[in-house]
């Protein structure tokens, strides 16, 4: 069973468009479990149109709560809080939920025992069914933190589902950036497919994404989306990947099919054939052959 994550560094390069098409292609060949690890802006569900499963509450951490009756106004909580989460108004102490990280330092230090830590429901996750296979997705409540932890939950559920269904692959649609939600999505993957766009910004962010993959020991490969909007930049990216030993698996042409497929709520490969659908269909076997055999001998990363 192999696990692939689709990342980019930069937003808007086409991760979800490529993910949906690959989901379609994998599902035609074998059993695939799909997951959306972009938990604060989850878009894969728009194309997959899942039969939603039961919402599972996600407790992302804890929130400190100050009991006004017991509070003596000694200010110790405000002194220890590193996140400026203690508000004082008219001598009344309260916790600002947007700032509180749930570390509990205040609760351990309050001499009056006036602070308790309560579970914080940060969002929901779902195990749903789609036309391509089981789909794990999640939504972070607005204003909540801990997106990385919710991504870990999505990953854990996808592994469980893959074991139950004896799936051949897990395919994860990741988020932009390089911080904790991306780290939670990239560790322990067999391959990170980095979707690049041939822009200076895109190249800049691709380099950072490659650095993150290397840092965490995840093999990566690149496909260049909308490759023909700047042939010079595409060539530069390919040359640099060659130098760095990173395979470039495909150049996907700019094609309005990508947008019309999205508007039709379909994967690109479910639309009538175009150069883009052909390019993704050609990417598919290259992708599979670039995944190394799953490490059964526990070799060092």
């Amino acid at each position: 069973m192999e696990q692939i994550v689709i990342l980019s560094g930069k937003g808007g390069t086409g991760k979800t468009t490529v993910a949906a098409a690959l989901a379609h292609l994998f599902s035609q060949e074998g059993r695939v479990v799909l997951a959306d690890a972009d938990v604060d802006a989850p878009n894969l569900e728009i194309i997959l149109r899942p039969e939603p499963g039961e919402p599972q509450a996600f407790i992302g951490g804890e929130l400190a709560r100050i009991d006004a009756e017991r509070c003596t106004g000694c200010n110790r909580c405000a002194e220890v809080c590193r996140f400026d989460a203690v508000n004082v108004a008219d001598g009344r102490y309260s916790v600002e939920p947007l700032s509180c990280e749930g570390c509990g330092a205040c609760a351990t230090q309050c001499p009056a025992g006036a602070i308790e830590m309560v579970d914080r429901r940060s969002g929901y996750w779902y195990r749903s069914e789609t036309r391509f296979g089981p789909f794990i997705h999640a939504r972070l409540e607005p204003g909540e933190a801990n997106s990385g932890k919710l991504v870990s939950q999505v990953r854990a559920a996808s592994l469980e589902t893959a074991a139950e269904t004896r799936a051949d692959w897990i395919l994860v649609d990741g988020s932009p950036g390089i911080g904790c939600p991306v780290i939670a999505a990239i560790t322990g993957m067999d391959l990170a497919l980095l979707v690049a766009e041939p822009t200076l910004s895109g190249w800049h962010d691709l380099e950072r994404a490659i650095a993150v993959a290397r840092h965490f020991g995840t093999p990566c490969a690149v496909c260049i989306n909308k490759a023909d909007i700047n042939a010079g930049m595409t060539a530069r990216i390919e040359a640099q990947c060659r130098v760095s030993g990173i395979p470039v698996l495909a150049r996907l042409p700019y094609d309005e099919t990508a947008v019309s497929a999205m508007r039709a709520l379909r994967a690109v490969t479910e639309m009538p054939a175009t150069p883009l659908t052909a390019a993704i269909e050609a990417l598919y076997p290259s992708l599979k052959s670039s995944i190394e055999q799953p490490k059964r001998k526990g070799t060092a990363a």
Partner: protein, 299 residues
């Protein structure tokens, strides 16, 4: 008194940096302006603005260090750590710095006083100028998980550097709706949310509006980019929600090409200058419509 205009979006790739940099150029032609790139995981504004960053400062978090001589292996540190960043074993104590949030609880609660904290860099901020435009950006070190403290450092620096006395601060936000965006939006006087007329764009715009307007209580204006006129759904949504569309940029290959080679929009297509001047007026008017957000005063 500064007007802080944050340029954000739910979906990535909708044109935040394109708009923020053009807006900053137009603003700085009128009055002293600061441009801050708060997309610290993928800062790109400098590509278009080409500033000279003369100054930089590391952003650090505090990590615990355990004194083996004093440690009694009581396990209290592991017990209080909410993030599982300390493992207490029978004969040693391991710290996992990537899990650590720098809260200090282990240090405060160690009965043997065996833990002290040391600074650990997670990234940096740098600042300088591009002509009349003052600029700053933050950058998260590869391998580090938390962008938020770097964005906080940018906000604090803005206060220290006296930028709250400038008429305009334009802030380029990260995409999405998670903690880095919340931190970026905190001191905003107005949030400009950029979207594209596609199902993904609309879906993520709703999330961004929910965050900026309903949770963070900011005035919100929408900018519609890459508008090919083929999808009225975003327009309909904005009408239903009484959200003003402050600017529309058409889908045009020339705009995409200029962006792809790092060419500033107003240099490649100066005919858009007027649209950005209008945008600035409208954004400032929205910001004026309510009491200015408190100057960022986190110590």
């Amino acid at each position: 008194m500064v007007t802080q205009i944050v340029v954000a979006s739910g979906k990535g790739g909708t044109g935040k940096t394109l708009v923020a940099t053009a807006l900053a150029r137009v603003a700085s032609a009128r009055a002293a302006t600061v441009l801050i790139d708060a997309d610290v995981e993928a800062p790109n504004a400098a590509i278009f603005i080409r500033p000279t960053f003369g100054h930089a400062r590391n952003v650090e978090t505090l990590h615990p260090v355990v004194d083996a001589e004093r440690c009694t292996h009581c396990g209290r540190c592991a017990e209080v750590c909410a993030f599982n960043a300390i493992a207490s074993l029978p004969d040693r104590t391991l710290v996992f710095p990537e899990m650590c949030h720098g809260c200090g609880s282990c240090t405060l609660n160690c009965p043997a006083g065996a833990i002290h904290e040391e600074p650990h860099p997670i990234g940096r901020i740098e600042w300088g100028r591009a002509g009349a435009l003052e600029c700053a950006q933050g950058e998260l070190q590869v391998g580090e998980a938390m962008a938020t403290p770097i964005i906080g450092a940018l906000h604090r620096h803005a206060v220290e550097a006296g930028w709250h006395a400038r008429p305009f601060m334009i802030i380029d936000s990260p995409p999405g709706t998670a903690c880095p965006v919340i931190e970026t939006l905190r001191p905003a006087d107005v949030a400009l949310l950029i979207t594209e007329p596609t199902p993904f764009g609309l879906h993520d715009l709703r999330l961004a509006v929910n965050l900026a307007r309903d949770v963070l209580k900011k005035p919100v204006g929408v900018i519609l980019n890459k508008d090919d006129g083929l999808d009225p759904a975003v327009d309909r949504y904005c009408q239903e929600e009484a959200l003003p569309i402050l600017m529309r940029l058409p889908y045009r290959r020339e705009i995409a090409e200029a962006y792809s080679s790092g060419r500033p929009l107003l240099e490649a297509l100066p005919e858009y200058r007027g649209a950005f001047e209008d945008l600035l007026e409208r954004a400032a008017a929205m910001a004026d419509g309510q009491e200015r957000g408190a100057a960022w005063n986190r110590s």
